[in-house]
Amino acid sequence: MNLTEMTPFIQAYESPIFRFVIVVVTIILAFFVSKLATFYFRRSFREKMSKDHLEIVLKVISYSIIIIAILFFVLPTLNVQESSILVAGSVFGLVIGFASQSIVGNLISGLFLMIERPIKVGNLVNIDGNSGTVEDISIISTIIRTYDGLYVRIPNEKVFTTTITNYVANVARRFEYVVGIRYEDDADQAIDIIENLISENPFALKNPTPSVFVDTLGDNAVNIIVRIWAPVTDWYSVKTEMLWIIKKTLEENGIEIAFPQRTVWFANELSKKEIQ
């Protein structure tokens, strides 16, 4: 093919409409390839990586494909020079700075959240009073699924500036019961029973050592404190199971859980009247 034959193609390529079509097709193609790549990687590595790490890798792959498509295909097609990108970037930055402060705030907060990583996808957290599981951390917002199944979207700026409680950031967590037994019951025996129950539960950790001790001599009961460490993954189930087992086993051994009661002593013996 000689230059004369190529002229219609060159003219067509220089046509703004043709370039617009190429740009649109390139962007659609980039999104399609990005979706295809994330689908493939998600399917291949779903069982080999944690959900949190996998989501980060998928985001990096997805954004990289789109950025490469824009830098190497879209911008050259539009004849955009590097110097003009810098100028445009400066102007764009100023415009963004004035017009879209909250969006940029969220975006920067999102980047810091991804770097600092106080929360990860799948973590159980409390952010600004919203307790639940982190479903996604995107550039602009963080999605939480509450324990009752609600979808809560929190802007990243809010996430970054508020107090975050991450219930599963550490691998183990402690919980505590106060078991009040009657004064006439044997507290040593109760402690032995509770310690045996803890040692029988696989998820009540051997170390840090659980502690069971008489804490206070209360108004109505001898209060025994029970402190147990459990893996964060099973903390709640251990907590809910153990208390009822302790109560039942103590009662099976003749140790009653005390309830509030008062013994009244009269200075003078009351006169008794027989009821017919």
Partner: protein, 235 residues
């Protein structure tokens, strides 16, 4: 008990009953044990059931890939010394269904008590399956469906005496071998400092003629940390 069984089969051992029976052109796997029962319907043309000792990290629930063996008496090892000790480790029994090349885990059984522990602190430590063992100078007697014997070569590379009370191992590298009377593993523990050591398994049987078990962890997952475990939170 370990080995390959033609289907249908029925086995009863130490209070555990396992069977694969044909009922109405469908095979049914049944397990009865003191901690519960399990039933699964199997769809296949030909196959066998394999009973293998597997990594002791699946029961009652798989929450970690680390096994911590605490010694009932601490070992004090001299500078530059290398010695071999034997310890016991818990085993779980993997029930696999196979047709020549492919296999799939059907069930995991265990006859030993389960306990978890934390190695290190709650922020940087790891949850481990816990096991307590005496330290032996020669291969101890064991019940092979409950316990195995691990040969550990302890090497103190430091210039000081070091006290060791526990060892942590990564399940991704466990190489379990079995025979009729013994389940075994071989491991090395290289002491790198007063509070630091590295553990790794060797791919070798303790005695000649032992059969290699299916590696459930390596078959299922890829370890991000690698097979070695660096004990950096104390010995």
């Amino acid at each position: 008990m370990f080995g390959s069984y033609d289907i249908p089969f029925n086995i009863e051992h130490e209070g555990i009953s396992l069977s694969v029976e044909k009922e109405d052109n469908l095979y049914t796997y049944k397990r009865k044990a003191f901690y519960g029962t399990e039933e699964k319907t199997l769809l296949f043309d030909t196959g066998k059931v394999l009973l293998n000792p597997i990594e002791p990290l699946n029961r009652p629930k798989e929450i970690t890939s680390f096994l911590l063996v605490e010694f009932d008496k601490s070992i004090v090892i001299g500078p530059g010394t290398s010695k071999i000790i034997y310890i016991k480790f818990p085993i779980e029994i993997g029930v696999f269904i196979s047709n020549n090349k492919n296999f799939e885990i059907l069930d995991v059984l265990t006859l030993v008590n389960q306990k978890f522990t934390l190695y290190g602190d709650p922020a940087s430590g790891v949850i481990c399956k816990y096991w307590n063992s005496s330290v032996y100078s020669k291969i101890p007697e064991t019940n092979p469906i409950m316990e195995g014997v691990m040969e550990v070569k302890i090497e103190n590379t430091t210039t000081r005496w070091v006290e060791v009370s526990k060892a942590v191992f990564n399940a991704y590298d466990m190489r379990i071998y079995y025979s009729h009377s013994l389940v075994s593993m071989k491991a090395k523990m290289k002491i790198l400092g007063d509070q630091m050591a590295e553990t790794v398994f060797s791919n070798a049987p303790l005695k000649a003629g032992m059969t290699k078990s299916i590696e459930l962890y390596n078959a299922r997952k890829v370890s991000v940390l690698g097979p070695k475990f660096l004990m950096g939170e104390g010995l």
